[in-house]
Amino acid sequence: MPKINVTSEYRKGQINLGEVWKAGYPSEKETAYTPFIDNGDFEIYSRKLELICFEARQILSKMGTTQMLQSGDVIVGIYTAAGDLSCAVVGTHLHVVCAQIIIKYIISKYQDEPSVGIKDGDLFFVNEALLGGVHNPDILMIMPIFHDGELIAWTAVAVHEGDTGSIDPGGMTPRARTRYDEGLHISPIKVGENFRLKKDIVDFLENSVRNPRQMTIDLKARATSCMRVRKRILEEVVETKGNHFFIGLLRKNIDVAAEAARNKIASLNDGTYRTVIFLDIGIPKSLLKITVTVYKKGDEITFDFNGTSPENREGPWNTFAHGIIAGSAVYLFQYFLFNLPNCSGSMVPFKYVIPEGTLINASEDAAVSVGIITVGHVVFYGIHHAMSKMLFSSPYRELACAGWVIPAPPWLYGGLDQWGFPTAGLCADQLNATGLGGRPDMDGPDAAGFNFCPSGIFPDAEFQELQLPFLYLFRNRYMSDNHGFGKYRGGSGVMFAVSPHNVDSLFFASAQGGQKIPCNSGLFGGYATITPPGIQITASNLRTLLANSDEGIPYDVHELLGEKRIEGHYTLESLMRLFRQINSGDLFLMPSPGGASYGDVLERDPELVMADLRKNITTPWVAQNVYKVVYDPVTLRVDREATDRARRAERENRRKRGKPYHEFVKEWSQRKPPEEILTLYGSWPNP
């Protein structure tokens, strides 16, 4: 394992600065104490640490006000004295990995700096993307844990905050061109000392954002969670078992996970597995390409991202390399390493090749606020997809599934709320209700969650309407055909329509690509999910319809668009939507798409297709034209023999219409997309 080398280069946040995101060498104390942790104590106390994190996560979610926080899109982690992740409850897997970078930065910069130092009761605040914040709405609070004067651990909590004082509300503006458009960039500062928040720093933060009350309440929620973790560790572990036991326990968690991860990898077939994904970005209209190649040899895996489009300055679609590495944990901790602790040991066998100057290893002043949710999202899908192709032929076949849906689009709002106070933020609805991919043995779960945070909840509609100046016209019906079709279909998602309520107007935006080409092809012959557009209806008669309790009010997007029951000006466009004013009674629609699918559509059990028809998850057009099921449209009874005949005929048609590979490639390779959609792509076909 390479020795951690924290240098001034660290500031750039580039991965050539040392592998600070994975476990470093054990300290002398760790080496001395770890062998004395017996297996019984290890089981009991490592579980206790998880439960401590779990309680702190609940405290954080209940105390805070940001939508992402209330929905559980948070992390709480416990780190060794050197900053290596030992235990975490997620939440959002990205941040547990990234917090290591920040802790190691604090140690290297401030431990011996007389004007700062690291003391018991300190609370550090940070949102600098270059130092591990991924993008600046993600705000972390980090606290050292001392006992008997010795620094024995750290705890970190993180959650996406509603505003950063960027050029548009919400901190994730598609208008950003450099980091200087994105608002606050706070390198680690002490927002608290002696177990109290510092009034001058809190005032500074309040003064820097559009939603000052939310910033302060959420700061207090973070501080409370950190202090709760500290208190319980000291009272329930350290004071009874001693510093030496706790230090050894944290390290043993890491060492056990590293060994287990290597053993799991060694059981897989050696080889190369690759995913190529395209993302269309609406501003300007251009294709981007992301290539994920997974090399597996022995007990190590290398993720290589050569073949990815170059960094661009047309928008905030870039990310930093450490965000991509941390993002690989989104997949690894959820799937392949699901039964190991969420800790830095689990990541020891993984290497990363992330070319400089690409979208995913951007330069220091690049805009990145939307990158992790657009390009990063695609990268994480690519890792998932390639790993699934490896895992099918392994003892972990049940994990070989199509990935979470892309795109899950962020929906941003800003303005004055129903009480006249400024408000801004990112809603969790559309993120936390996407469908999961189809599996080798079952359909993907419907409205399953968000790949960054599978445990996040779809927030309660009434609670949302109580807090925010919104009225949901519809939100609780699955949108038919918005998932991938296959032997096992992707989980269905929803689509919802919202209107400003109890205010004259609000400002809305969304930030995602994927309207021209699907980002998530299915697995092993399954089809991709839909390419959902952004929709809005202005100058509408909705308020009149509501006042009259009109029976024609639509309750899903098919009723809305197919029958145009609401009068008004309909706009369908890219989901990369700049902020615009939406008046009360007008509608802004957001998709929460379904997952991609698994396997050949002709192998889907016809009775499952009928079940989907009954639930309106699939339309008759798809049942007949894609699944080739023959059935009685009134009773939905399947004609088995006719279905078998139709499917045999389709297989025969495939054999007739398909071309031999070389014949196909000869013609296909002569073609090329229009130049105007390749402006950000890089050189064709391999950037």
Binding site: D270, I517, F524, R655
Partner: protein, 124 residues
């Protein structure tokens, strides 16, 4: 002996060929891209992904000028073993390259284990 590599593809360790898991058709050399032995069909993605508002530029289905649906079939039985969504002319992806030597060694050991197991012994 055949080793199952994907839902629809096996590798025959004796012949060192990719085979269809459904019909047994020998597709191509296992050391090469299996797609070279498959049938390939390009289609307008809207034939599968229906549009909600066909007249709109953005209509829930991929744009055929940006994206083509590439279906990859077993020549023996017509099973769709893989799909790709590619911009026109973009090379097909070589998505799985198995280290055949390691695979053969791995299953040689497995075969030894099975023989030994039949004799009632235990491998250490």
């Amino acid at each position: 002996m055949k080793v199952r590599i994907t839902e629809y593809l096996d590798i025959n360790l004796q012949t060192k060929k990719w085979c269809c898991n459904r019909c047994g058709y020998e597709i191509f050399d296992a050391g090469e891209n299996y797609k070279k032995g498959c049938l390939i069909y390009e289609r307008d993605p809207r034939e599968v992904h229906n549009t909600v508002l066909p007249e709109s530029e953005f209509n829930f289905a991929p744009d055929p000028d940006w994206c083509r649906l590439i279906e990859i079939y077993c020549p023996g039985c017509g099973t769709m073993v893989e799909v790709e969504y590619l911009p026109p002319g973009h090379p097909l992806t070589e998505d799985i390259v198995i280290d055949l030597e390691q695979l053969l060694k791995k299953y040689e050991k497995y075969e030894e284990y099975k023989k030994h197991e039949k004799r009632g012994g235990r491998m250490v």
